[in-house]
């Protein structure tokens, strides 16, 4: 009985743990997409159609496998300006990002804030 309980508890802990590790939280996903749009976008364009770096649109990535894309993101591309992003994404996040790129990313639209005039710093407690 005791042994069984142990096993059950063990399985429960293990499964909770792995479920926890597998999932990239929605907040983190948004964070990664924000990095993709604005930071990757500084070379590849904010719409990912290319700039100093090549286009990352699905039609242009077709010749690459998910694995190749993951390798490029992780290690960068020696001889080009593409740096390694390993310090900023774990393996799972990199795979998720590669899948997003292959499937095509649609960024949520930014809505314009109303024009307002400068607020004096004394009056605004930021």
């Amino acid at each position: 009985m005791m042994k069984n309980l142990f096993t059950i508890v063990f399985i429960l802990i293990a499964s909770t743990n792995s479920a926890f590790c597998d999932a990239i939280s929605e907040t983190r996903k948004q964070e990664i997409l924000q990095i993709l749009k604005h930071d990757c976008g500084s070379c590849h364009g904010m719409t990912l159609k290319g700039g100093l770096g090549p286009s990352l649109l699905p039609k242009d990535l077709k010749r690459m496998s998910e694995k190749q894309i993951v390798l490029t993101i992780t290690l960068g591309r020696p001889g080009t300006p593409m740096p390694p992003w390993e310090p900023f994404f774990n393996n799972e996040e990199t795979h998720w990002l590669a899948q997003q790129l292959l499937n095509g990313v649609t960024f949520s639209k930014t809505s314009l804030k109303p024009l307002n005039n400068a607020s004096n710093n004394e009056n605004n407690h930021q």
Binding site: Q34, I35, H38, D39, G41, S42, C43, G45, M46, T47, K49, G50, G51, L52, G76, P78, G79, P81, P83, P84, F88, T110, S111, L112, K113, P114, L115, N116, N117, A118, S119, N120, N121, N124, Q126
Partner: protein
């Protein structure tokens, strides 16, 4: 007949009213204290007043502005915006109106206005090359494709600047060249090509006196210098220690050389890959010192009087600004404006600096004497800030 007369009368009154309304929305004033802020994610821009710290207009419909730059007509009434999608937009900043917009290329990076203010040059990644337009109506005047790198593509062009003598100078990223185009005769551009200047020039700058053009190299250490007074002397390599070094450190955002900082006889340059600002003698171009900073610098810009250098940084350090005292070379202040601190612009005589903070959707205005935040302005995903004082500076 009576009806027709009435109709004409009514119609003419109407049109007069419309015209009056239209005039009313324009400002009757000089533009010396105005500027434009790019809203990168929404294809729009705000026209701002740096005396009142207020926003005057928002202009929409400018296309993909993920990378954008601006030059001004010499009367400082019109701003020309170069967008990532190859768009070239002419904006009347007194009326807050888009005057004309053309799609001149597929993917562009920046532009310049000629010495006489008549020509606008745009630098394109795709198709690689430079196109030159009439500043008045944006009609095409010259198309200068860059060197072919294969059957389909021409070299990307970067670091385009204007130079005295109706010249434009730019670098070719893929083919490692610097080209100088003389537009004295607009029907016959004269191109002078300098080859083997180094690998992957990623940006260029011209000294404020318009004499020296320098290209930064990504593929190797050092920079390529061209003396425009003596182009016959060819390219000179300077600052052999400038670059990523043997370890080839990763770079998370290309440093910008435009708007580089000259203070007295020293120039301050963002290092490539290293967390350093380099100090060089701007006569001999020898490195004098290097200043350890918080991250990989993107812009190092001098306050107009040259006493302070303001530096921002690449991802993941792009929430910070550091201020360097140009005399002691010490960091005198570290500011934390917020994530996505992308660009800085000084007011014409430098009492204030405006800073874009992308992720906070605001522009922060700092007093450069007290180094304190004095005001904020709501701007949607702000990036480049461009004040009209650029209208009368070579290379800006």
């Amino acid at each position: 007949m009576k009806n027709l007369l009435l109709f004409i009368l009514l119609f003419s009154t109407l049109s007069v009213t419309c015209a009056a309304t239209n005039n009313g929305s324009c400002e009757v004033r000089g533009t010396g204290d105005l500027g434009l802020i790019i809203e990168r994610a929404t294809g729009s821009a705000q026209i701002v007043n740096t005396s009142t710290n207020k926003s005057l207009f928002r202009v929409k419909g400018l296309g993909d502005l993920s990378h954008a730059s601006v030059v001004y007509s010499r009367d400082a009434r019109y701003a020309y915006v170069f967008g990532r999608d190859g768009g070239l937009s002419k904006i009347d900043i007194l009326c807050g109106k888009l005057v004309k917009r053309i799609l001149q290329g597929g993917n562009s990076i920046g532009g310049a206005i000629s010495q006489d203010g008549q020509l606008i040059a745009v630098s394109n990644y795709e198709p690689g090359g430079v196109k030159i337009f009439s500043a008045k109506d944006l009609n095409l005047i010259a198309d200068i494709p860059s060197s072919k790198i294969n059957d389909k593509k021409n070299s990307k062009t970067v670091g385009l600047v204007d130079a005295p003598g109706q010249r434009f100078v730019f670098s070719l990223y893929d083919s490692g060249e610097i080209w100088m185009v003389n537009m004295q005769d607009t029907s016959k551009p004269v191109i002078r090509r300098f080859k083997k200047i180094g690998t992957q020039p990623y940006d260029g700058l011209i000294t404020p006196d318009g004499r020296t053009y320098i290209a930064g190299l990504f593929g190797e250490d050092g920079m390529a210098l061209l003396d425009l007074w003596h182009p016959e002397k060819g390219i000179k390599r300077i600052m052999d220690a400038y670059g990523r070094g043997e370890k080839k450190l990763p770079v998370y955002k290309m440093p910008h050389l435009e708007g580089w900082a000259v203070a007295g006889d020293r120039a301050f340059l963002p290092a490539v890959g290293h967390h350093e600002v380099l100090v060089v003698d701007n006569k001999s171009w020898k490195q004098q010192a290097h200043i350890k900073v918080y991250g990989q610098p993107v812009f190092a810009i001098a306050r107009p009087d040259g006493r302070q250098i303001w530096v921002n940084f690449a991802f993941p350090h792009n929430d910070t600004i550091q201020v360097i005292d140009a005399e002691s070379l010490k960091i005198i202040k570290t500011l934390k404006p917020g994530k996505g601190t992308l660009h800085m612009e000084f007011t014409p005589r430098g009492e204030a600096v405006w800073i874009s903070v992308r992720d906070k959707d605001e522009v922060q205005i700092y007093d450069t004497e007290t180094l304190q935040l004095k005001a904020t302005l709501a701007v949607t995903k702000p990036s480049g800030i461009f004040f009209t004082s650029r209208a009368h500076k070579t290379g800006l």
